[in-house]
Symmetry: C2
Subunit: 319 residues, 2 copies
C-alpha cells in the first residue's frame, strides 16, 4: 500500500503546503481522502491515473477539504471517464456537493454516486474496504479507515504433503480455503494475515473515538494543525496539536503516525512540530506536499523510497 500526500496544509494554504488531499493506492486502485482546492494538478504530476480513483472520502464540508471536487469531477468527465465514481461524506454532504456542481454548471458523462455516511458504516472501494468513525470538529465530521483485504495464512506444505496433498493446483485450492481430498484448510493453513490498514482523522479535536478506530492500524494519519504551544487555539477551533496526535497514536498502538494539516504559522518551524510529537511517539513522520510513503507487507513504513533508491544509486556511481 502506498500513501501520497498531495496537500498537507491547513485552512489557508501556503507557499509550501496546498490544502488537504491524500491518495491511498493498493494495486491499481486509488482512494482519495479529502480533495482541497487545486488537488487535481498535483495528481497530474504522478503516475496516478484519475480514472483509477475508485472513491473519494470527505471527512467534513470545509472549503480546504472539498473545493477541489468540482474541478476534479469535471476533468474526469472531460477526459471521458466511463466507470462510476462514488463520493462519500457525512450528513449534509450531498447538498454541499450539489451546490458546488450547480454553481459551475457541472455535469458528468459518468455515474457519480454520492453517499452520506455515519460512524459504523463500511463499504468497498476497489479492492479496499473502508470503515467510518466519529471525529469532532464542531460540524458533522467523520474519519475513515482504509484496509486491504486479509491475505490467506501461511501453508504448512510438509504437513499437507504428509496428508496426501500433491504440489500444484490441489495445494493452491487448499491454501485458498477449499477442502481437498478430505483435508480441511485449517489443518494445514495458519490464521489469515491481516491486510494493511490506514486510518485518517480528517480535522478533529482529540477524542477517544479516534484512538479506538486506529487500534492496531499500520498507519495513523492524524491532523496536527497546531503545536502544543497553541493548544488553546486548537481546542477553540476543534483541532489537534502534534502532541495530542502522538498521545492518540500511543494509546491506539498504531504502528506509525503521520502528521498532516499543518498550519502555515509553522512554515518556518515544522521540525519543532515534528519533534514535539516524536518525544511522545518516536515512530512519527511529518508529511510535506508530495511525500510518498510505502507500507511494506510487514508494516514497515518507508518515506519516499524511490528517492532513497536514487540517492543510493548516486552514491554507488560516485564511489
Amino acid at each position: 500500500m502506498e500513501i501520497l500526500f498531495l496537500g498537507t496544509g491547513a485552512a489557508v494554504p501556503s507557499r509550501n503546503r496546498s490544502t488537504s488531499c491524500i491518495a491511498v493506492r493498493s494495486g491499481s486502485d486509488i482512494v482519495l481522502m479529502a480533495c482541497g482546492e487545486g488537488s487535481q494538478r498535483p495528481i497530474m504530476l504522478y503516475p496516478y491515473s484519475f480514472m483509477k480513483i475508485r472513491a473519494i472520502l470527505i471527512t467534513h464540508m470545509h472549503g480546504d477539504h472539498i473545493l477541489g471536487l468540482p474541478g476534479l469531477i469535471q476533468t474526469m468527465s472531460l477526459e471521458g471517464r466511463k466507470s462510476p465514481l462514488c463520493v462519500y461524506g457525512p450528513p449534509g454532504f450531498r447538498e454541499s456537493l450539489d451546490m458546488l456542481m450547480r454553481a459551475t454548471g457541472g455535469s458528468t458523462v459518468f455515474d457519480l454516486c454520492v453517499r452520506e455516511v455515519v460512524p459504523g458504516d463500511s463499504f468497498s472501494a476497489g479492492n479496499m474496504k473502508v470503515g467510518v468513525f466519529q471525529a469532532n470538529h464542531g460540524v458533522p465530521a467523520v474519519g475513515y479507515s482504509v484496509s486491504e483485504p486479509d491475505r490467506p495464512g501461511k501453508l504448512d506444505r510438509d504437513k499437507a504433503v504428509s496428508l496426501g496433498i500433491r504440489d500444484g493446483p490441489d495445494m493452491a485450492r487448499l491454501k485458498n480455503g477449499e477442502t481437498v481430498n478430505g483435508v480441511r484448510p485449517e489443518q494445514v493453513v495458519g490464521p489469515p494475515v491481516r491486510g494493511t490498514r490506514v486510518v485518517y482523522t480528517g480535522d478533529t479535536a482529540s477524542v477517544p473515538s479516534v484512538a479506538e478506530a486506529s487500534r492496531g492500524a499500520d498507519v495513523l494519519i492524524h491532523e496536527a494543525t497546531y503545536s502544543d504551544e497553541d493548544r488553546e487555539l486548537a481546542s477553540e477551533h476543534f483541532h489537534s496539536t502534534a502532541r495530542e496526535a502522538a498521545e492518540t497514536a500511543l494509546r491506539s498502538g498504531a504502528g506509525t503516525l503521520i502528521l498532516t494539516h499543518i498550519s502555515n504559522r509553522y512554515d518556518s518551524s515544522r521540525d519543532a512540530v515534528l519533534k514535539e510529537a516524536a518525544l511522545v511517539f518516536p515512530d512519527v513522520f511529518l508529511a510535506d506536499d508530495f511525500d510518498l510513503f510505502e507500507i511494506t507487507k510487514n508494516g514497515t513504513v518507508l518515506k519516499n523510497p524511490q528517492e532513497r533508491e536514487t540517492a543510493s544509486a548516486d552514491r554507488t556511481e560516485s564511489e
Copy 2:
C-alpha cells in the same frame, strides 16, 4: 501597468498550465480577472498582497473561472482583511457565488459586495476604471476593459513663463487644470494623455463586440483555446482559435495581443499556436503561467522585464 498571468490553461488544467487567473496592477491597486481553482497559491509566490485586490472580475460562471473564489475569499477573511471587496459577474453570478460560499460554510469578516453587470456598465476599482462588453460563450458571458486614468497633457513651461507664471505651486496648479492669474490651462497644457488600457475577453467565440471594445487598447488579452486546425471544435464550444484572436487584434488596432486560455492539447505545440497568430498579427505573445508583462507609459509591452534585467546583469558580470 503590469499584467501577471497566474493561470493560462483552459477547462482542464495541465502540468504546465493552471486554470484562468490574471492580475492587473496599477500602482498599489490590483484587479483580478478570472479566479480559477488554485489561484490563491500562485498569488502567494508574488509580492502581490491579497489585501490590495480591489475587485475581482468574472466573465462567466464556468468552474475554471470561478472555483478559486471561495478559497481566496476565505483566506482574505482568515488573514483579517478589513476593506470591502467587490466581485463582478454577468447575470446569475450572485446565485453561483452564493452556492459556492454556502457549500463550504464560508462567511467573511469584511464586506463582500457582489454585483451583476451587463455590457455597457462601467465602474471604478481602486484607481482603475472598468468597462463591460458583450462576449459570446453560449452562457451569460462578458469581457472587461481596465484602464488607468488619463494623465494631464504636457505643459509648455516656456509659454507659461512668458504669460507670467512662476515655477512652483502655480505651475503645478495650472498643469492640474486650474486657471492661475488669468492663464487658462488649455493655453499652455496639451491634450490629456490617454491612460493605459487592457482588454480581457474571458471565454468567447470570435464576435464583433470584442474588436469594438478593444479598439485602440494597449493590450488585448484574448482567449485562444484552440489552434486554427481545430476551428470546428472552437466554433462548437464557443471558443476562439489563435488565428481568430489575431484577426480581431488586427481589426481593433490594439497595440499588443496576448493569447491565453490554451487547451492542454497544445502542451507540446504551444509555439505552433503562437506562430499561427504571429502570421496575422506580429505584436503577439502567448502567455505561460507566471509570465509578467509591463506596459510602459508609451504603450510598449515588456515580457518578464525583471528576468531580462537579471539576464543582462549576468551577461555583464561574465564579460
